[in-house]
């Protein structure tokens, strides 16, 4: 798919930051042997995306913003001591973590225990390679980017299992077992939801999906609300965000697979957890919220800024749910994945496939039908959720109750025989 030439390639056009890196890349391509250039080019891209997006986001949205926002939800102030408005707090945290001794229990499997944070970090960085920040701002424009993303994003489970196993702690083992069981269950509806998107946009490339959304002036999240919701729930389960943070459930199994970690070894897990959440948010923004495109606004506002804004907005929802919801039990979580999410994902796939077939074959790919499908899909999503809440998943004993009130003390009062 040819990239539309939206933007100029003057170096001062910061709507596309690749204008700044392109001279460097050209220099590398011209003067260095091509084997080395293959390595250096992506490296420059990585460093650039890390500097403009990952690091500031991690520090200021992931650490500072999360603490501040959760603080406000909890009617506290949040960090406000280090620097103006506590802005230097994340850096102070990082320095503190580096100073701390990274303990290793005597009975632990030292090699695996030290290897786990490293294994955990690498995929988080790799994930950003396929996220398109702009028409040309993409480190690797792979045509199977979605497949790549899904594959790489399930790697941290391995690291988490290594961490949980090697610590030789029963709580760690609990956390490791829980995260493995949970991510296996939640991958299935996640992939099925993604399959619907792929069917409709007819591409596996993330850039292609953004361009499709740009071309038809509609977001996939609006077209397929069910897939969007399924993606959000599954990804919050895989990322261990509340209400599905059972793998590191603080009140039950202390810290799950991180129980035996301290210092910067723990800090790597913590930082990269945010990295994964940001990558998942960026992915959601790309696939469901139009990526760097925004109904023509991307001609004025730098597209990468739009993507960053969408990512951070999506991340806010994670913070919000974390601050307000209790945690599910593991069997309830598994039952939810297999008994609710999977059927719903399949139904969504069926619906989307039918619509796709109708759209291409019968409706001649007219844009107005997309809006019709949008209405149909929203209605069906509401119907599914209402039917589940009202009939299928409804249990009379789960109806919220108020206690009965009695005037006089006495013995047991059978239900229905209260003496007011």
């Amino acid at each position: 798919m040819a990239l539309p030439m939206l933007l100029t390639d003057h170096w001062y056009d910061i709507r596309d930051l690749s204008n700044l890196t392109n001279p460097l890349l050209d220099f590398v391509g011209d003067n260095i042997s091509s084997e080395l250039a293959y390595i250096l080019g992506p490296l420059i891209g990585f460093i650039a995306s890390f500097l403009i997006f990952v690091l500031p986001s991690q520090l200021y949205v992931g650490v500072y913003g999360e603490r501040k926002l959760i603080g406000r939800i909890q009617s506290r102030l949040g960090p406000n001591r280090v620097g103006p408005f506590g802005l230097i707090q994340p850096i102070a945290d990082a320095i503190k973590l580096m100073q701390k001794e990274a303990l290793t229990p005597k009975t632990a499997d030292t090699i695996i225990m030290n290897l786990a944070p490293v294994v955990f970090v690498a995929p988080a960085v790799l994930l950003f390679a396929v996220i398109p920040f702009g028409p040309r701002m993409i480190v690797a424009n792979v045509n199977v980017a979605l497949l790549y993303y899904l594959a790489v994003s399930s790697l941290p489970v391995l690291a988490a299992f290594m961490a949980g196993w090697s610590g030789n702690n029963k709580y760690s083992l609990f956390g490791a077992m829980r995260i493995v069981a949970m991510s296996i269950s939640y991958e299935v509806p996640l992939v099925l939801a993604m399959l619907g998107v792929v069917l409709f946009t007819d591409t596996l490339s993330l850039q292609g999906m953004v361009l499709w959304q740009k071309e038809w002036d509609i977001w996939v999240g609006m077209l397929m609300p069910v897939a969007f919701v399924i993606y959000f729930i599954c990804v919050s389960a895989e990322l261990n965000r509340t209400p599905t943070d059972i793998a590191e459930a603080e009140s039950e199994i202390v810290a799950g697979y991180l129980t035996e970690y301290s210092g910067m070894k723990w800090g790597l897990f913590y930082g990269m957890d945010i990295g994964y959440a940001l990558a998942a948010s960026a992915f959601a923004a790309t696939v469901f919220l139009g990526g760097w495109s925004m109904f023509g606004l991307d001609k004025i506002v730098p597209p990468w800024l739009l993507l960053v804004a969408k990512t951070h907005l999506f991340y806010m929802i994670f913070i919000w749910t974390r601050g307000t919801l209790p945690r599910l039990r593991i069997d309830q979580l598994m039952a939810f994945a297999w008994k609710f999410m999977l059927p719903v994902a399949l139904a969504n796939l069926l619906l989307v496939a039918t619509e796709r077939m109708l759209w291409v074959d019968a409706f001649d790919s007219k844009q107005v039908f997309l809006f019709l499908f949008m209405i149909v899909n929203f209605a069906s999503a509401a119907a599914i959720i209402y039917a589940w809440a009202r009939f299928l998943g409804y249990k009379p004993e789960n109806h919220p109750t108020k206690p009965r009130l009695v005037k006089e003390a006495g013995g047991y009062v059978p239900v229905g025989r209260e003496v007011r």
């Binding site: 006089e408 003390a409 006495g410 013995g411 047991y412």
Partner: protein, 177 residues
């Protein structure tokens, strides 16, 4: 004004004499003293016998009166809003023993463990009588009146008691082995 009716010891004794003759040892204004060997029977009668339904064992504790121990039970009825005090005397200071009321009230389980822990009163028939607050092997029974006046002086501190060997510190494992 609803106030819990507190049965005097004589009331309880009268009720018990009707149900189980010969179970009551003596009675005073506060409490009814029951013979230890008839305790379980009597408690069953008080819990679910005719005219009494003391279904709730509120409080169970031991008291040391220098020459003997008493185990005090406060039991109450919800429906009739009554409470009464039952006592059992135990004159053997060396091996004090009282039947356990766990078969009657499950709630006695932990309170009897506590009385055993602090007074050394053995509750015969208790399913799992162990030291609940202190550790196994704690020297002596701390709530006994003679706990600190053992031969060897009034020095507080666990190693000062006669007959108890000073504990060896556990061997320290070297860090790098």
């Amino acid at each position: 004004m609803a106030v819990t009716r507190e049965w005097s010891g004589h009331d309880v004794a009268a009720a018990l004499e009707a149900a189980i003759p010969g179970a009551v040892a003596k009675a005073d204004a506060v409490a009814c003293f029951i013979k230890p060997e008839r305790l379980i029977e009597a408690m069953h009668a008080l819990r679910s016998g005719a005219g009494t339904d003391f279904v709730h064992l509120t409080n169970l504790c031991g008291v040391d009166y220098w020459d003997h121990f008493e185990v005090v039970y406060h039991i109450q009825s919800f429906v009739k809003n009554q409470i009464c005090t039952i006592k059992v005397e135990c004159w053997d200071r060396d091996k004090p023993s009282v039947p356990s009321v766990v078969p009657v009230w499950h709630g006695a389980w932990m309170q009897e463990c506590e009385a055993y822990d602090l007074f050394g009163i053995r509750f015969e028939g208790h399913p799992n009588l162990h030291r609940i607050l202190l550790w196994d092997g704690f020297p002596g029974w701390p709530l006994r009146k003679d706990f600190l006046s053992m031969p060897g002086g009034l020095q507080p501190g666990l190693n000062e008691f006669s007959g108890i060997a000073r504990r060896e510190a556990p061997p320290v494992r070297p860090v790098n082995d």
